[in-house]
């Protein structure tokens, strides 16, 4: 493991990360994943909170986690390539941050580096679906439904199927929350998933003509009305709902103070994750939170170490890092997945951007994650190694990653129901969580 970045404030962590990383990535060999020795199983999760972040638009995995050891990467991207960690011609803060002998992080992802080094963040590269249309819509639809290709006839979302296949833990009205404008396809098929733009949307919406005292009166009356026992559990749900309303008012998400000095960026994602943190800490029974971050469709003027995509990456990294810092030890019970519908073409286009490609990168963050590794059957970037018309091949089915998380971290053994068609016997071979 060669590491020459003397200027980095996190040199020690890089070395540590490099050591553990060296165990985890493999150049070339097709059966690489199978070589990963099983670690003794960690404490089985009783069911983590799942945070699912969808990077919409097709995030360029090759510029997020840079295969800097590949000459082809630099040949194909004369203006977009991120300088190698050892490129002395460039200042250190413009160079990629080495993860191991093949991969390096985009410098804008630097805030994620400590999480990687501590083993909380795992990276899956050359990962994606079998959907080859390169259409945003089709590829997102396939991934959110948890199927191989968009043409699969399964209509509900993978997270919905997960929620339907585990016993309900309680009657929380905030079991599954999407911070979004519309219900994401991954949650389609559960009737009680809640779509919120902000947490403050989860309230009794009192019209202008009614003041706050009336809102409280109303809640009081509702509590009385739904006081009795009923054999259907409707009254219990009503009372839980009123309880959550009260809790949220007490917590007051708009004045939520993150712990451990965490500072969330003032972006949609930062605000979203901050609210997820507030919800988890308020213990309102959250099981799944879905968030989106758009702006990855970088056909034109994508930028390299600076520019459009770098700004997006910086926001992503700062948001995730703030979330992990804020949650502290609670990360033991949280698994966050960041995924995108496809990666982008290896060769940059004439507009100094990249076009829709195939394989991309997935990030998995959490206390139960075997992080500090880049999990990849690396297919290579030479012409004969690419998929027509010049895209990184998909060598890891994104569903294997999700299935491991569902099984090991969410404590749901019904993998065949959540991901019909996934080879259950292969389950766990990734060893990611």
């Amino acid at each position: 493991m060669k590491q020459t970045d003397d200027h980095s404030p996190t040199r020690r962590q890089i070395v540590l990360g490099g050591v553990s990383a060296a165990l985890g990535w493999f150049l070339g060999g097709g059966s690489a994943l199978a070589q990963i020795a099983f670690k003794p199983a960690r404490t089985e999760s009783k069911g983590d909170v799942l945070v699912c972040l969808f990077l919409r638009g097709g995030a360029d995995g090759l510029n997020m986690v840079i295969p800097y050891a590949e000459d082809a990467y630099y040949r194909n991207r004369p203006s977009l390539a991120i300088p190698s960690p050892s490129d002395r011609r460039r200042p250190a803060n413009e160079r990629a941050i080495a993860l191991n002998e093949l991969f390096a992080l985009h410098p804008a992802l630097r805030p994620l580096y400590p999480l990687y080094a501590e083993g909380k963040l795992a990276i899956v590269h050359a990962c994606g679906s079998a959907e080859r249309s390169r259409s945003h819509f089709e590829a997102m639809s396939a991934m959110e439904r948890g199927v191989a290709e968009a043409k699969a006839s399964i209509g509900n979302g993978w997270i919905a199927r997960h929620l339907l296949s585990v016993p309900r833990k309680g009657s929380s009205p905030l079991r599954a929350v999407a911070f979004s404008n519309v219900l994401p396809e991954s949650l389609r098929g559960v009737t009680d998933a809640v779509v919120l733009q902000t947490l403050s949307d989860f309230r009794l919406a009192m019209p202008k003509s009614m003041g706050i005292t009336q809102a409280e009166e109303l809640q009081h009356t509702l509590r009385e009305m739904y006081a009795g026992a009923d054999r259907h559990g409707v009254n219990q749900t009503a009372r839980d709902t009123l309880q959550v309303l009260q809790t949220l008012r007490r917590v007051d998400p708009s004045r939520y103070r993150p712990a451990n000095g965490a500072v969330y960026p003032d972006s949609e994602l930062g605000r979203g994750l901050k609210q997820v943190a507030a919800l988890i800490k308020a213990q309102v029974g959250l099981e799944v939170a879905c968030l989106d971050k758009g702006g990855w469709d970088t056909h034109v003027a994508q930028g390299g170490t600076a520019g459009w995509m770098a700004a997006n990456l910086a926001d992503l990294a700062r948001s995730l890092s703030a979330f992990a810092t804020d949650m502290g030890g609670e990360m033991r019970h949280i698994t966050l997945i960041a995924m995108t519908e496809f990666g982008r073409r290896v060769r940059e286009n004439s507009g100094l951007g990249t076009d829709h490609g195939r394989a991309g990168v997935m990030l998995v963050l959490g206390g139960g994650v075997r992080g500090g590794k880049v999990y990849a059957h690396w297919p290579g970037l030479e012409p004969h190694q690419l998929e027509e018309p010049g895209d990184l091949r998909v060598t890891t089915d994104y569903r294997e990653v999700l299935a491991e998380v569902v099984w090991k971290r969410l404590g749901n053994p019904h993998i065949a129901r959540v991901f019909p068609g996934v080879n259950v016997r292969r389950l766990g071979t990734l060893g990611l969580v």
Binding site: G155, R188, G233, V234
Partner: protein, 466 residues
């Protein structure tokens, strides 16, 4: 055009002066319960019609819907939908959300205002039973035609006709992938759901082998896509049909049957005893909230002896003793919203602001992603009570754009609480569950109305114990 009609619409759709005096409004509790289960929500006006006509004549009228029998302003309003005036192949100029908006608006308006409430409830039933989601591919463009020419047309007719119409509809052919079910590369999606959901039921006695054989029978059933042909219509493509012999449910289908293979399968399935049981069970749940075995058995016999006549089955069900004995049934969000609008004699355009409430409650029409339709029962729906409460508040405060209620006109000069309770529940105020609710009510007229709609009592189609 529509906006200009508002005052006229109000006159036509808003209530006549309703509660003219509480004592005069004595209705039989059984009639209230019966109407509340047959329709999308009992109203005083509807009760009067029932009292006037008698139950038998009322039911006969309900079983024979007639567009000309609708109030003329309702008819006028319903005529204005672009989606029903354009062939599916030409609808592509509209964005999908616009098609969906009009579909939902149309369904809401009919559910709230149609005189033929039973028809509307059955359309709601078939929409789930033969669910096609607008979210898949081009399905949205074929949904208006599907709704009008398949579901609405056959909702009270013979089930074999309805089943055949769904099988040949481009909406279903696209939704369950039969349009690409071809000789040599069969697609089993439709075949499986046809037996599991549309007819026999999951334990109805078919095998995986049957699924494969049925899929072969339907090879070549597709949607016309060729140039200068009637695009977007049913087409049997003989070249793609597997014309070998097949064996379905132990019955032999000889080779060379062509298009008739599929038709034979549909006939066989439609009149299968398992289908009778499956359908009658679902109808019981839809109207009663539960399905007693004895009732299902009796209805199945009616079904089989009448060639699958849906109206005959409904007559038997709705006039049965157990229909009145059934326990309370939790309203689905669409039931809840429509019953609230009806109870308050709301004037609504059924447009997006209202649709958004329905979406938040979890039941945006035509958007259920699975072929099994929206579920029934409190387990599925109790998680979005907050959104019901918010709808109740917004409705009573007149804060939903395009929807108005005139609460002062509803109660007139009568004591507010009793007048509201009587208008909304149509039950005497001394009914036990109403009495306990009455004690909790306070505040302004709008607040009290909102509380009633938000109450546990209004979340259920009440049973006899109410």
């Amino acid at each position: 055009m529509i906006a200009g009609c508002q005052p006229m619409l109000r006159r036509a759709m808003a209530p006549p002066p309703l509660v003219t005096g509480l004592p005069a409004r004595k209705h039989l509790p059984d009639d209230v319960l019966w109407l509340n289960r047959v329709t999308f929500g009992v109203t005083l006006t509807e009760l009067d019609r029932l009292a006037e006509m008698g139950k038998i004549a009322y039911l006969e009228q309900q079983l024979h819907p007639n567009e000309m029998g609708e109030q003329w302003l309702v008819r006028l309003r319903l005529r204005g939908f672009e989606i029903f005036q354009t062939a599916p192949a030409e609808l592509g100029d509209l964005p999908v959300p616009e098609v969906l908006r009009q579909l939902q608006q149309h369904a809401i308006l009919r559910a709230v205002y149609s005189r033929y409430q039973l028809h509307e409830r059955m359309v709601d039933f078939w929409r789930d039973h033969f669910n096609v989601t607008a979210s898949k591919g081009l399905c949205a463009y074929y949904l208006p035609q599907y709704e009008r020419d398949v579901l609405r047309k056959h909702a009270l007719g013979r089930f074999p006709d309805l089943l055949k119409a769904t099988a040949r509809s481009p909406a279903m052919l696209l939704y369950l992938d039969n349009y690409r079910n071809r000789r040599g590369v069969p697609n089993e999606n439709y075949a499986r759901e046809l037996m599991e959901l549309h007819t026999l039921g999951v334990h109805g006695g078919y095998t995986q082998r049957d699924v494969q054989e049925v899929a072969r029978c339907f090879t070549g059933w597709t949607v016309e896509e060729r140039f200068l042909r009637p695009r977007g219509t049913f087409r049997f493509d003989h070249a793609q049909h597997d014309d070998g012999e097949k064996r379905v449910l132990e019955r032999y289908i000889p080779s060379g049957g062509g298009e008739s293979d599929g038709e034979r399968v549909l006939e066989m399935l439609a009149m299968h005893p398992s289908t009778a049981k499956h359908l009658c069970r679902k109808l019981c749940v839809h109207f009663m909230g539960h399905a007693p075995d004895a009732t299902v058995h009796r209805l199945s016999e009616v079904y089989l002896s009448t060639g699958g006549d849906i109206s005959e089955v409904l007559r038997e069900l709705l006039l049965s003793e157990e229909f009145l004995q059934s326990p309370p049934a939790f309203k689905r969000p669409f039931d809840y919203m429509v019953s609230a609008l009806r109870a308050l004699y709301a004037l609504t355009d059924g447009n997006r602001p209202l649709q958004e409430h329905l979406e938040k409650m979890g039941q945006p029409l035509y958007r259920w992603p699975l072929p099994d339709g929206y579920p029934h029962g409190e387990e599925a729906w109790k998680g979005t009570l907050l959104e019901r409460w918010n709808f109740a508040i917004a409705l009573c405060a007149n804060e939903i754009r395009g929807t108005q209620v005139d609460l002062p006109a509803l109660v007139g000069k009568l004591p507010v609480t009793d007048a509201l309770l009587q208008t909304i529940f149509c039950l005497p105020p001394d009914t036990p569950s109403i009495r306990s609710l009455r004690e909790r009510l306070h505040g302004t007229l709008a607040q009290q109305a909102a509380l009633i709609l938000a109450s546990p009592q209004f979340q259920w189609r009440y049973g006899r114990e109410a």
